[in-house]
């Protein structure tokens, strides 16, 4: 069932993929994780939770400040809470403001829950201010309220890896990254030969030059890795990766540049997924999900490449 759902999701992604690319290409600032549009709705459960928080705090603070009320808060009527005679006027005002905001929230609760929830938040702000006033007048309350502070339990502290462990892992990752990078460049060359005829002479030289330079550097990095010079290899990989990105960025035609950068991303992801699937398979684990994703990524890659070729073929360059 789960696999079917994933497959359905993948199909939908495939269908909207090209649209997505167009949208993002046109407005690259609209990245993932942007805020959702406020449609004025609020989950009734959240509304009730906020209401409960405000009402409970109102009762608890009344109790803290003035002791147990002599009458039930339901009997306060239109004039709001009943206070002892000697109460600080500022404290009284904040408390009445909070009560008033809660009354308004109660009135608008059914017709406009979002506005009502905001009123409850406003009430809580007044209660916070009331507490601050109370705290200023009753300095001892801090000692009395503050429980024994406990730091983070030992078992919840993030466990730092030892230097030796980090070094071992990094050596493995350097080696893997170098191998994947080489595979990526090889795949990129294939793409290059596939679209070469659709590129301008200048852009073809730039693309070919970027890939050739990266390929040569990767061979030298491979030697360094074999020689055990991992730190040096790491720095070189970093530089080569950035350099290849910059070189592809120098391609003049926008759609050609975009196509190579997209291919670079797809190849990196495909190589990573292939590596993950191989490791899982070696452990005897199921790799159906990974295989589906790899197929999807390859499909998307081909789709993007064909789009590019079709557009160029129609003279849209």
């Amino acid at each position: 069932m789960k696999i079917k759902l994933i497959a359905l999701a993948l199909l939908m992604v495939l269908l909207v993929g090209p649209i997505g690319q167009i949208v993002y290409a046109q407005d690259p600032d609209d990245g993932i994780g942007g805020s959702t549009e406020d449609d004025g709705q609020i989950d009734p459960v959240i509304y009730e939770q906020i209401k409960l928080q405000a009402e409970t705090r109102h009762m608890e603070f009344y109790w803290l400040f003035f002791g147990q009320p002599d009458t039930d808060s339901d009997d306060w009527g239109d004039n709001g809470p009943v206070f002892p005679d000697d109460v600080d006027p500022e404290l009284r005002n904040q408390f009445i403001h909070a009560w008033s905001a809660m009354q308004q929230a109660e009135e608008m609760g059914e017709s406009d829950p979002r506005a009502a929830a905001n009123q409850y938040l406003r009430a809580m702000t007044h209660l916070r201010n009331a507490y601050k006033t109370y705290q200023e007048d009753n300095l001892e309350v801090e000692d009395e309220l503050d429980p024994e502070t406990k730091g983070i339990p030992e078992n919840e502290v993030p466990v730092e890896a030892t230097a030796e462990e980090l070094s071992d892992v990094q050596e493995q990752l350097v080696q893997r990254f170098q191998e994947r990078f080489q595979e990526r460049v090889t795949e990129m060359f294939e793409t290059y030969y596939d679209v070469e005829g659709d590129l301008s002479l200048s852009d073809a030289e730039k693309a070919f030059g970027a890939l050739t330079k990266a390929e040569q550097k990767l061979l030298r990095i491979q030697e360094k890795i074999h020689a055990g010079a991992f730190d040096e290899a790491l720095d070189d990989l970093d530089a080569t990766s950035d350099e290849m990105g910059d070189d592809l960025e120098s391609i003049e035609d926008v759609s050609s540049r975009q196509m190579f950068k997209t291919m670079n991303q797809f190849e990196a992801k495909i190589a990573r997924m292939v590596e993950l699937a191989a490791r899982k398979a070696a452990k005897g684990q199921d790799t159906l999900d990974e295989d589906d994703l790899i197929a999807l990524l390859r499909g998307n890659k081909d789709h993007a490449k064909n789009d590019f070729k079709d557009n160029k073929g129609k003279g849209n360059d």
């Binding site: 959240i46 906020i50 928080q53 503050d146």
Partner: protein, 419 residues
């Protein structure tokens, strides 16, 4: 498996947005902030990363941090290098990086009021310390819940602010405690055969109020249930004593041969017993009183010295009544009445007691170790909240215990310090 599915879905989404990632080295996915009671925050940040990159520069939350750990999508630890408020992670082609660390710079404390402020680029979960009472929220959360006894709030990305306070006396707890106290009292007395239907109904109302989250009403109603139950139990005890007295008088009359008028006494006594069984204790006491009087006034059908005999009976019945009264008084005698408070021991053991705490303890000692909270307030002309805090303080020292008597709180020095 679920995590993998989510991850793979993210990768799929990522696959349709290559332009975005070509420009940004990472895309924040989620931020978890777990706050501890000393204000320390454990940050757990998850980001989708550009798999073509060897190193990625991440902006951290908070200006100072410790115990920073970065891991890739396989959970392998990654090398990090701090650069001020940023950290460079050698992610070597990972498509997801998780960063965890501790920081104390996201929270600010003002008295007992804590505030967390953070600008989050991703959907965020804020988990508050145990016992935190939320005071102020900068925005409406997308979710509120509890996990492992701690409240959490979920927000969309953006500027987030949460104020909270620790150690606030919980009205929810007070209501629950009041209901429990009433329940215990009623069930015990009910088992002893006392009819407490009225208080039971009141207690049900308190439970309903609790379910409706009207905590104050729940507490007050539960207190009423307890108070009513105590009154009824007192009435029942009075009725039982009256019936016992009437029975004694009846037996004396019977044995003395004073049978004239005794039938009426017997009828009244039986009626008293019926009323008692029906739970009408006031009527039972009244009818038993009548039976007692009738038994005393019964006389022998024909006897020369009957007046003298009746006089003797009066004396005997009076003595019996007096004896029962003393017995009852002894039974209801509070234990503290026969105790002496060892103030020296208390003051020696707790040399950090405040002056006012000592005064209240002396006051209690002078009253055989106990007094109502209202009496303490009246004696020291103290506001309700101050008295409440003082009593709470003494409770925390383990010096006094609080017992609910009706709507009143009876404060009593614990037996450890009485002789």
């Amino acid at each position: 498996m679920k995590k993998l599915t989510v991850l793979l879905t993210l990768i799929v989404l990522f696959s349709i947005t290559p332009v975005v990632l070509a420009q940004d080295e990472y895309t924040p996915l989620s931020l978890d902030l777990a706050i501890y009671s000393d204000g320390t925050v454990k940050v757990d940040f998850l980001a989708e990363t550009d798999p073509t990159k060897v190193r990625i520069d991440f902006e951290l939350f908070g200006s100072q941090y410790s115990n920073l750990v970065a891991r890739d999508d396989e959970g392998l630890p990654l090398v990090t290098a701090a650069t001020g408020t940023n950290v460079i992670v050698t992610c070597l082609g990972a498509f997801e990086v998780n960063i965890q660390y501790l920081t104390s710079t996201l929270t600010v404390k003002d008295g007992a009021l804590w505030t967390l402020n953070v600008s989050s680029p991703a959907p965020t979960r804020i988990t508050l310390p145990s016992g935190a009472a939320i005071l102020d929220l900068g925005d409406i959360p997308t979710n509120i819940g509890t996990s492992d006894g701690k409240q959490y709030l979920d927000f969309d990305s953006g500027g987030l602010s949460v104020s909270y306070i620790l150690g606030l006396p919980s009205i929810v707890q007070e209501a629950t405690d009041a209901i429990e106290a009433a329940e215990n009292y009623i069930s015990l007395r009910k088992a002893a055969g006392i009819n407490l239907t009225g208080p039971e109904n009141t207690l049900n109302e308190a439970e309903t109020a609790l379910a409706l989250e009207d905590y104050l009403d729940a507490k007050n109603t539960a207190d009423s249930a307890l108070s009513d139950a105590q009154s009824i139990v007192e009435e029942a005890e009075d009725a039982a004593i009256a019936i016992s007295q009437a029975e004694t008088a009846f037996v004396f009359a019977q044995e003395g041969g004073r049978t004239e008028g005794l039938a009426e006494a017997e009828t009244a006594l039986n009626s008293a017993k019926d009323s008692y069984d029906e739970g009408d204790y006031a009527a039972a006491e009244m009818e038993a009183g009548q039976a007692y009087q009738l038994a005393l006034s019964a006389f022998e059908p024909q006897s020369a010295g009957s007046l003298l005999y009746i006089g003797v009976l009066f004396v005997v019945a009076g003595a019996a009544g007096g004896y029962l009264y003393i017995q009852r008084s002894k039974e209801s005698l509070p234990p503290s009445l026969i105790k002496k408070v060892n103030l020296d021991k208390i003051f020696f053991k707790f040399d950090d007691l405040r002056l006012e705490d000592k005064e209240v303890l002396r006051f209690l000692a002078g009253r055989n170790g106990e007094a109502f909270a209202s009496e303490i307030r009246a004696r020291f002309d103290m506001p309700r909240s101050t008295a409440w805090r003082l009593i709470r303080r003494l409770q925390e020292y383990g010096l006094v215990e609080e017992t609910k008597v009706g709507n009143q709180s009876l404060i009593r020095i614990v037996s450890e310090y009485t002789e």
